[in-house]
Symmetry: C2
Subunit: 350 residues, 2 copies
Amino acid sequence: MSTITILGAGFMGTAVAWPLADNGHAVRLVGTHLDADIIRSCQASGYHPRLRRQLPAGVQPFYVEQLDHALAGADLIVSGVNSLGMHWIGRTLGPRLWPGATVIAVTKGLEATPAGDLRILPDVLRDELPPSLRDRVALAAIGGPCIAGELAGRRHSCVIFASRDAVALPRLRATFQTPYYHITTSTDIIGVEVCAALKNAYTVAVGIAGGLLEAAGGVDEAGAGMHNLAAALFGASAREMARLVALMGGGENVAWLPGVGDQYVTCVGGRTIRLGRLLGLGRTYTQAVAEMAGETLEGAYVIQQLARVLPVWEAQGRIGRDELPLLRMLCRVITTDAAVVIPFEALFGN
Amino acid sequence: MSTITILGAGFMGTAVAWPLADNGHAVRLVGTHLDADIIRSCQASGYHPRLRRQLPAGVQPFYVEQLDHALAGADLIVSGVNSLGMHWIGRTLGPRLWPGATVIAVTKGLEATPAGDLRILPDVLRDELPPSLRDRVALAAIGGPCIAGELAGRRHSCVIFASRDAVALPRLRATFQTPYYHITTSTDIIGVEVCAALKNAYTVAVGIAGGLLEAAGGVDEAGAGMHNLAAALFGASAREMARLVALMGGGENVAWLPGVGDQYVTCVGGRTIRLGRLLGLGRTYTQAVAEMAGETLEGAYVIQQLARVLPVWEAQGRIGRDELPLLRMLCRVITTDAAVVIPFEALFGN
């Protein structure tokens, strides 16, 4: 049995404590500075207020100020923050990591560099580590469809662990796998991570159909909604995702858990689909953000990153002017407050 | 403007009358012998009782006994029957077609031959034609996500027209395309048709998650459903679909409208997802069919066809014993009344 330190006590960081604890590992759950209230509740009563569950036995909560203590003797570290916390994670862990350490991230996102490169988050984290450590730490990431509340409810959840370090993967799988947490592995970390980020971006597009339906007065007298449009946008998303994964040098993970599987579960509901709905209803992005005050909109963040990268790729001749019409529409809407106009001809013309 | 004869007055056969009529074409809607009540209503009042709408102006309803009259001078024929009617369509049209005729089918399905070959429906139709006509008739098919009631409600619907006859495609597109019916085209008729059929088969699998949730008592006290499982089965479906399309010699249409796009809309609801739900609840297939008496279960039909083909492919060395574990589970459930057991390790192990 191992000692595992999770840094970040939000939904997904905490949810992976269930399979780990069920496997008998000692789990140290460390809240970030944003999670102090959560840790207070967990320490007082073992109750996680966001997941609305008692933590399983074997999970010990810590404040971020206790991080050094929580990392002492850890066999494995889980990065449980959202995409905006990736630099912080790297800088925080950097001075505290040791050669041979393994870090697995639940975070889904992408980041544009000032030069217009698009980076997967494990590489963002790596770049924050001291140079002497960068090639001596195994970095992995979790993709695939997984609503945290269902994992914490011990519902069947099927995910993919990805790492360039093929040796680390079987060990990670053995540590996390339970009768309800099913893990496949892949060395295609680029494909998995690009899918993981893009499904948030493209779910905004699928959500637009729901808003357009409401704007049109809802289901008509014969019961017709706009599922056809949502499905077409879902299909177009998969196609553009495949193109973007190929541009990034990733492998075949779109028609699988990380691409369409993860997008399917994201389309079930939540803040990403809600953002799309507001845009479809005619709100500008600025207005939608105001209505959703306080929510982290990772889909919008990914679109903002891609909006910086597309002109660079176009200038480099890596993509044509007419490619990725759905993503370009999303970029206009999110970065310039443009109105939603589905580019039907560009998407579905010939 | 053209004269278009639709043979089959069910949901989808009739729904394509909307874009055709809106484009000013003369549409002749011919019911099969199963559609007599529908045609009676359409002739009496223009009301289609299944779509629950008035037919658009320019659509003339006919009984099957009036077929010769309805075909006279037609520029294009739409096969609007379901997959079980494909031989009938071929045999019925065979003696009445002329060299240079074009037939486009809305039907989605696959058929196993006694020898264990799997055939797409346009080829099943072709084989029923007189030999002298087989290579002188252009056959096309429609794939992609399209609930008929939404198309008839003039909701945005984005589909793919497929044919081996590249010359026929632009003409077909021009005939059907409207501001709400968006058409992309493809010569990959195998890929499109295999996806169109498989999405019905694999939607049964996704539906199982809903039944398992009900069997487990529904959403738990913290709100956890089984969306993760449904999404994992959706992702696994896409992966197996891609393998099956490759085995059939089809192209890249899974991560697009015909594969995941069409499966997405099918998962929204309807008889296929309901069949899966009943199986997940613990009914045998025989029991589920009895509960759904009278409904055409095209997903089950496709699974039955594949159940005949898989052993042949395995004997031929085209697939391994461990391939396509989700489809094999569906085959056991549908053809032997076996209980649902999700093959997690085979699907998501390594």
